[in-house]
Point group: C2
Chain length 474, copies 2
């Protein structure tokens, strides 16, 4: 338990990297900082997990600098952790063994939009909102939208998704190619701009979701999508979360090409009402969105209305007014701070899990009961069209009993999802927080992953202590 | 050159595996055969590439047998090659270093259809037609359709796609999880039935497209899709292949959710007319298909009609009559034998390449000119919505000059596609035939791939001599 309470402890680095840091200082001048405030800002700051700063932070200007820094880290067997904007939720940015943090946020150039191919090539520090703002006059958009305004590099690393994934896929589906700095400081291109290829191993998808443990992304080519002629947004209420899940399941089973279908339980709706100044009925609620032609959207909304009725839902209201739509989705994206505001003195523990859609109602319902039985505050919100949902537990971290209760609840959720042939995380990643479930979820496949890790990073310098616990077990 | 002429030569195996084969015989009795006819049937038989049989063929009954056989091969450092139905085009099934071929075709059980989740779990010997026949009363279908009636295991191995990929994706998109026998004979599960996950490395997609060099697939869980309420098929003609490619490009850029868009050049149409007894105008032609509601299909067809007109196309006829639709696509799937029949005494060299859609017209047009200049017979047919097309060269393999000309042409096409930021193969794979382009396409990424290969198969027993040339270079 003390691990979580010791928020401001020093890194548990056992090695002295001062010679390497000195060399980095000579190479990079005041792009390198060992100021403790800056170091702390570049480690984990989002949830209750302990902040474990690196020994120094380098603000990189280009891929050559990243390559040079990584090569030097490799020479000194010093850990290296890439930083985007700091929004990861499972401790991916911590430096439990010290080392160098490379801040990629100034590598934020949008290199090339290719309207004809619906692709864009970006540097890793570009954020998803920056990209969509840049695209605003092209008729194209980039759909992946985790709650935070994350960087594309970070989103590649954690295999991010969000509210549009049910229609447009996750990072694994929208990344065409990558440029990656490997552990030995080489700059390697993976994939091409061809939509498909059967030429050799799919390195691109191996890097996606590897949380900085196999390489550092310095360039990404993404698929873009055309903004639909018509976008309809809607909202509807249900007597129970199970009923809302049933409606979601029917929607997916009928292959309705819904663009977004998001569940908020009654507590989450209450939090959003308070935080975003809305006036929604405080009941289990689905936020939905339809993309298509005007007639197509109308048709989808009609079919969805029938599904809702079948499942006991009510008050279905939808329209294509852009202002109302933006307000709705803004509130949805603010679910995290809205929930935090339910108990401002507490720390948030945001966890997620994902199950086959047929098990969704059961998994959400059991989890809701579990939260209730625990007496904790934990709103449920989810990308339910993918079988993916989040619980945000608000925990007094000075109360060890409460901390223990929360950890036990997260653990039961992870195992519940895995036992339903699902996964302990749909989009947050493993980081430090979910290592204990890797074995249960993957069995001996963990050994295959570790063999790959060892082959590509023999000195274990790339984000050590993530996905697996220690430097030594690989 | 002699490599290609020596169709019936013995394997160039340098090792004597008779002790291992003896042991296999004891374990598996008459499931094991060393009959030369059977061995030849289980090596490459599809194109002009040399047939290189393994030392023995084991018809496996279950995953335990596969695991046992692979473990034994590993002990004896004997190559092991999995066989599905024998339809691969780049020599993936050959045994240039001898060893054991494991025939998976009797492991052809459809283990579980899950209608609620739109998933199915199958053994590797199930063919795509068998699967769709099995699904015929469920309202669901499996969309990936390479020309041949390939097995799912083989389709995983080569990252197969086909005519529906433009809408439904390729094998990389529709495989949820795998069960794989690794080089040391372990049975490993990769992935889950959850639609998305951020838990660890994406081993599933690493295996997909690895051509049997990283493991042997013993079970696959696939996504299924609902059969649309309405399916409209159509055909239209163009004055040039460039104009047909332009129309395709516009269709994709307008984000029309077209389900199939296939180019046939004039020669291919002629071949199909002769082979499938059709009466199509012998001009560059697009076969298309629209999936959706009745209104949705109507809308798509209207938009497509406008695109055709803009691009100088003509004679657009479409409808939703099932019989006519089946006849059309049956002819399309028979493009390969139809082309072969243009010159029955010749051997076929089927090659494919894939480029970003903006370069498609240019790549197809340059290739068409190249074929014409060579004086060879080489119809062009392609999944042009993905920027992917095929050339089928009909070659008298007893004429060394012609062979050389064909090889040079394929080489120019591969390099042309790569230089357009595309790939030397969109769906056939590397096998033996395209190894020489790996370096040009991937540069130093090849070293990363080889490091993974070495980590997962240290004795290089899994399909050696594929993707890379020799046993020794890994």
């Amino acid at each position: 338990m003390s691990q979580h309470l010791d928020i401001d402890s020093k890194p548990i680095s056992t090695k002295d990297y001062s010679e390497a840091i000195q060399q980095l200082k000579q190479l990079f001048g005041n792009q390198l900082s060992d100021n403790i405030t800056i170091r702390k800002q570049h480690a984990h700051t989002m949830t209750w997990l302990k902040n474990q700063p690196a020994d120094a932070v380098l603000v990189a200007k280009d891929k050559e600098q990243v390559a040079k820094a990584v090569a030097l880290c490799n020479e000194y067997q010093m850990p290296v952790i890439a930083f985007g904007i700091g929004s990861s939720l499972e401790g991916q940015l911590n430096a439990p063994y010290g080392g160098l943090c490379i801040d990629m946020s100034e590598m934020n150039e949008i290199i090339q939009v290719n309207n004809e191919d619906l692709t864009v090539t970006v540097q890793p520090g570009v954020t998803r909102e920056q990209l969509n703002h840049y695209l605003r006059d092209t008729g194209l958009f980039f759909p992946i939208d985790p709650g935070a305004n994350a960087t594309i590099g970070g989103m590649v690393a954690t295999r991010a998704s969000g509210t549009n994934a049910v229609r447009y896929g996750t990072m694994k589906d929208v990344v065409l190619s990558l440029e990656v700095v490997t552990a030995d400081g080489k700059v390697i291109k993976m994939g091409s701009r061809a939509k498909k290829s059967a030429a050799g191993y799919d390195l691109t998808r191996l890097i996606i979701g590897s949380e900085g443990t196999l390489g550092i992304v310095t360039e990404t080519t993404l698929k873009l999508f055309g903004i639909s002629a018509c976008i309809g947004s809607g909202i509807c209420h249900f007597p129970t979360v199970e009923a809302a899940c049933e409606a979601t399941m029917m929607t997916i089973q009928m292959c309705l090409p819904i663009a977004r279908i998001e569940l908020l339980d009654a507590l989450q709706v209450k939090a959003c009402n308070q935080y975003s100044n809305l006036n929604l009925k405080e009941m289990p609620t689905l936020f939905v969105e339809f993309h298509g032609s005007e007639a197509g959207v109308e048709e989808q909304a009609q079919i969805f209305a029938e599904i809702i009725e079948d499942c006991g839902g009510s008050d279905f209201a939808w329209g294509s007014n852009e202002e109302e739509r933006k307000k709705l989705w803004h509130a949805r994206h603010n679910a995290y701070p809205a929930s935090c505001a339910l108990r401002p003195e507490a720390k948030a523990l945001s966890t997620d899990a994902c199950v086959p859609i047929s098990r969704l109602a059961e998994c959400v319902s059991e989890t809701a009961k579990d939260i209730q039985a625990s007496g904790m505050i934990g709103p449920i919100v989810g990308h339910v069209g993918d079988g993916n949902f989040h619980v945000l537990l608000l925990v007094d971290i000075n109360n060890p009993e409460e901390v223990q209760k929360a950890e036990a609840l997260v653990s039961r959720l992870a195992k519940r999802a895995i036992d339903m042939d699902g996964t302990c995380t749909g989009e947050h990643g493993i980081g430090q927080g979910k290592q204990k479930y890797m074995q249960h979820e993957h069995g001996e496949a963990v050994l295959v992953m570790q063999a790959i890790k060892h082959a590509l990073d023999p000195n274990n310098i790339l984000n050590p202590g993530k996905i697996w616990p220690t430097l030594d077990n690989v």
